[in-house]
Every structure is written in C-alpha cells, then in structure tokens.
Amino acid sequence: MQRDLLRRLVSLPLVLLLTSVVIFLLPYLTGIDPTLSIIRARIGERTIDPAAVAQLRSELGLDRNLAGQYILWVSDIVQGNLGFSFVSRAPVDEILRRGLGVTARLTVTTLTLALLLALPLGILAAQRPGSWLDTLVTVGCQAGVAIPQYVLAPLFILLFALWLGWLPSAGWRGPTFMVLPVLTLLPAPFAYFTQATRAALLDVFNADYMRTARAKGLRRPILLYRHALRNALIPVATLVTLWLAGLLGGSVIVEVIFAVPGLGRILYDAVISGDLPLLQAGLLLLVGLAIVISTLTDLLYLLLNPAMRLSQSR
C-alpha cells in the first residue's frame, strides 16, 4: 500500500502538469482573439477604438509569446493568484468559489437524495432477483438515465412552475429554487446507485461466507444487515464519490436551463465569451478536484475493504 501511494504521489504532479499545459493551450486553438472578446463584453455593439484594443492587449500580456504566457500563468497560480476575469475584472478565485459553493450544494443534495432512495430500492430488488419487480427496477433505472436533462427540465418547468405554480421556474434565491434542478439531476445517479446496490448485494448473497451464515440458520434480516449490506456498500460508496466529481462539472445543462449560478454555468459562459483566465482556472480547478476525489475514493475503498487491507499487509 505504501508503495502504491508513493507511486501515486510521484505520478500525480506529472499528470497535473500535463493537463495544465493542455488546458492552457486549449483556448488558443480556437483563434478567438481574447482582447476583442473582452472589449465586446464591455461595450457590446458600440464601436471599437483600435487603439484601445492594442493597449488592452499589451496590458493583459497577450502580446507575449505562448511559452512566456504559460510560465506567467503557472507562476501566478502557484502563488495563489488566479487572475482576474477578462469580462468582469473580478478576481477569478472569488467567482470560482461562489460557483463551486452553489454547484457543490446542488450536487451533494442530489447525491444524498439519490442514495437515500436507491438503497431501499436496490435492497428490495436484490431480495427478489429475476422477479417482475426486479425487471421493473432495472428497466426503470435505465429509462431514468435515457431521458435527457434537457427534456426533463422544460417539462418540469411547465408542470410545476407554469401549470401548478408550486415552484419557481429559474434562479437561485432560496430553498424552493433547489427543487427542480435536483429533481432533474436525480434520475441518473439514482439509477446507477440502485443498480450498484442490487448488483453488489447479489454478489454478496452468492458468496461462500453467506452460504455459511445461512447454513448456520441465521434469520434473513440479520443476514442482510450484518453481513451483506456492510460489504455491499463498499462499491456503492466509491461510486457515490466518483459521481461527486462527475456532477460538479456535469450539471452544465441544468444550470443553464434553471439559471443556477454554478460552476458549470460559469464555465459555459467563459467558453462562450472567451474569458480565458476564468476558463483556464476553472478547468484546472475541475482537474484538481478530480484528482483529489479519485485519490479519496481509493483511500475510502482501501479503508472499507478488509480483504484489500489484509492482502496488502501480507
């Protein structure tokens, strides 16, 4: 285990460096002139002064060569300076922090709800494998994943905001604004968690030690909760943490439709408006989060899985 962790610690910075170069270069592949984008963002359709363009370009350091800009960028970031948005001139770390907070809340709520709903359903389905209920659950889960968010969201708005008037249609100004976005994001993780619970439980039910427990004559409920669930939850728990990273950036569509000022929305706007510092820092943040979460997931798996720990300590 130590050797694995050591190898990981060495190779991760390499990965981070590699991805940072890619992230930095990505916007330049486009040919979008960031200076022009900035000016357009500020003055809209009004006429541009060419002298202002040139001045702005040199001020932002955009007239230097790419390598120089990259080094400047990296050294800034390492010192904790994420730069200022080209468009709003607000500090990037503030913008990202706000967005991350919003998306994190949205994500955590969705995943918690999904887990709370998925566990009982998965258990139920695993207890009756092959039954009509089981098939219904399987098909239902896959159906939930197959309905795109951009179909669900407008339908929900139509139903709950327009027709019933129960919920607001867009924005992020209170608890009620969270309901529809969460509802739209829910089906996919819920489906995967249910399936994972079911699969993991079935795995466990057929394992040798379960047969031993059954042979000992233990009643079903005790069987379930003490032996099966604990071990079955291991892959599910790791799945939840993986989804955490996935949803942090993957909720773009929901955030756009419901006007939620989250990280996905911020990145989307940054792409559209050519706001380089925000885009680059935002992508770097996502990569960083992905690394942290994937490492935590491995640690979690290690902690929870006694078999792994036993084998490692041999």
């Binding site: 951009y150 407008p154 994972a196």
Partner: protein, 296 residues
C-alpha cells in the same frame, strides 16, 4: 484475484457497477423475450433512419414558410416545424447524423482506448503507471464539460465533435482493456505461447484481443447510449451539429419555444433519443451479464 501488482482497484467503472448480475436460472429463460423486444425496437429505429431517403416523402431541409407549425395531416404525417419543414423527414434524417456520430465516436474511442489499455497491461512499468493515473483523473472528469469546451472552441463541425467525444471516451476503454488484458495474460495458455516464441504483436492480436472482445462489445453498447445523449446535449447547447443538418438534439432546442403550441415538435425527437438510448443500454447490460467472467 487481488494481487499486489494491481493498483488499488475500486469498482472498475461507474457504468460497470451494473455488471455482475448472476441471475437465477429460472429468470434467464424469461429475459431473452425482453431482449428480443428491445433489440427489435433498436433495429426498427436503425432501419428507419437508414431508410430515410425512402421513408421520408419530403426533403428534411425544404422550408415552406407558409406552412409553418402544422399539425399532422396526410401531406405531413407528423406536421411541420417552425420553418415549415416536414417533421417526419427531419426526425428520420436527424437520426442518421446523431447515430452515425455516436457510432463513429464509440469506435474511435474504443480503438484508441483498447490499444492504450492493452499495451499498458502488457508493458507495465512507467508507461502503465502514468497512463493509468491519467485515466484515473480523466475518468472522473465530467465529459460534457470537456466536450463542450473542445467543440465550442474549435469550429463546431462533425470533425470537432468527433474529436471531443473521442477524447472524453477513450479512458473507459483503456481501464477496462487493461484489466481484462491482465486477466488474460495470467492464464496458462499465454505462458505456453510465450514459451513457444510468439511475438508481442501476435500475442496481443491473436491471443489477447479475441478473449477480451466480449466485455468490450458490451461496454460499447453502453457507451453508445451515453454518447448519443452527450451528442444531443451538445447540439442542444448549440455546439453540436450545425444547421440545417437535422439532429435530434438541435431539434429539441429549436422546438422548446414552441413547446406549448405544438408539443409534437418536442416529443418526436425526445422520444427517439429516449428509446434509442434505452434500447442500447439494456442490450449492453444484458451482454455485460452474459460476458461476465465470473460466470465462467
């Protein structure tokens, strides 16, 4: 199964958490019927989109500005959209670009991913280490964001989309191919082949690849469904297939303002995306269970 040589393996992939489903024998007789039904739906959709030139009586891009937003009639079986284009034709042709793009993306991702993954499994060492760390990080990365960034920054076109989808899709295959390759390489017949002096290339191509193709095929079905939804999502956001080429996702975005006036404009492409994604995923799931190594 768990050796110290394998790095910490958590659940192989989020998708494959649906993988091991040892089903009691009783139900295995019942499921093929469902499998046939689902396969049938998929087949109908694929044939319909392939046969678009014969099934559609109108040019999907032909606008008749005086015949906008019409309800189904004998002339236009599904009605017309906001520019007077035949909805049925657009739905059928729309399938072609969506399905073709998704299929190509999956093939490319699979090709690249399997190559890298199998190589990593065979070669090991630093290459394996760095590649798998990269995969670990990228797999967690939300693919929609990456695809969005790439497709939006490059000029949105078939090629740009293909590139974006391939870049975000290969990691799943790499991880799976690597795990499967390691599994196969541990088997005795490989030792025999190596002892007999089989070359590396031949080993991978003739001995490893055929034995790992089953689960890879199953995963491809699952990935196809996921890719289809992503393609439609990108088109919905405006960075996917460009007009006037019909595309289910783009049609959804165009139909939204008219949602309450003519719901069919929204329902038709939505239903097709849903059915196709559902069918492919169910088939993929069934195949995964079939190829599950634990059942051997």
């Amino acid at each position: 199964m768990l050796s110290t040589e394998q790095p910490l393996t958590r659940t192989p992939l989020p998708l494959a958490a649906t993988v091991p489903q040892p089903l009691p024998a009783r139900s295995r007789r019942r499921l093929p019927l469902g499998f046939l039904l689902v396969g049938g739906i998929l087949l109908v959709i694929v044939i319909a989109t392939l046969g678009a030139p014969w099934l559609a009586h109108h040019d999907p891009n032909q606008q008749v500005l005086t015949a906008r937003l019409q309800t189904p009639s004998s002339l236009y079986p599904l009605g017309t959209d906001h520019l007077g284009r035949d909805l049925l034709a657009r739905v059928l042709y729309g399938g072609r670009s969506s399905l073709l793009l998704s299929a190509l993306a999956v093939l490319l991702a699979a090709g690249i991913g399997v190559a890298i993954g199998a190589l990593a499994g065979r070669v090991g060492g630093l290459f394996d280490e760095v590649t798998m760390r990269l995969v670990d990080v990228l797999i967690v990365f939300p693919s929609l964001v990456v695809a969005l960034v790439i497709a939006a920054l490059l000029e949105p076109s078939f090629g740009a989309l293909l590139l974006a989808l391939t870049i975000t899709g290969w990691t799943i295959y790499a991880r799976l191919a690597r795990a499967l390759t390691l599994d196969v390489l541990a088997r005795p017949f490989i030792e025999a082949a190596v002892a007999a002096g089989v070359s590396e290339g031949r080993l991978l191509l003739r001995h490893v690849l055929p034995n790992i193709s089953g689960p890879l095929l199953a995963t491809s079905f699952l990935r196809f469904g996921h890719t289809l939804l992503t393609v439609a999502g990108l088109s919905y956001l405006g960075v996917g297939v460009q007009p006037p080429t019909p595309d289910w996702g783009a049609m959804l975005a165009e139909a939204q303002p008219y949602m309450q006036r003519l719901p069919l404009l929204l329902i038709a492409p939505a239903l097709l995306i849903f059915l196709t994604a559902l069918a492919v995923t169910l088939i993929g799931q069934r195949l995964t269970a079939y190829f599950d190594p634990r059942q051997r």
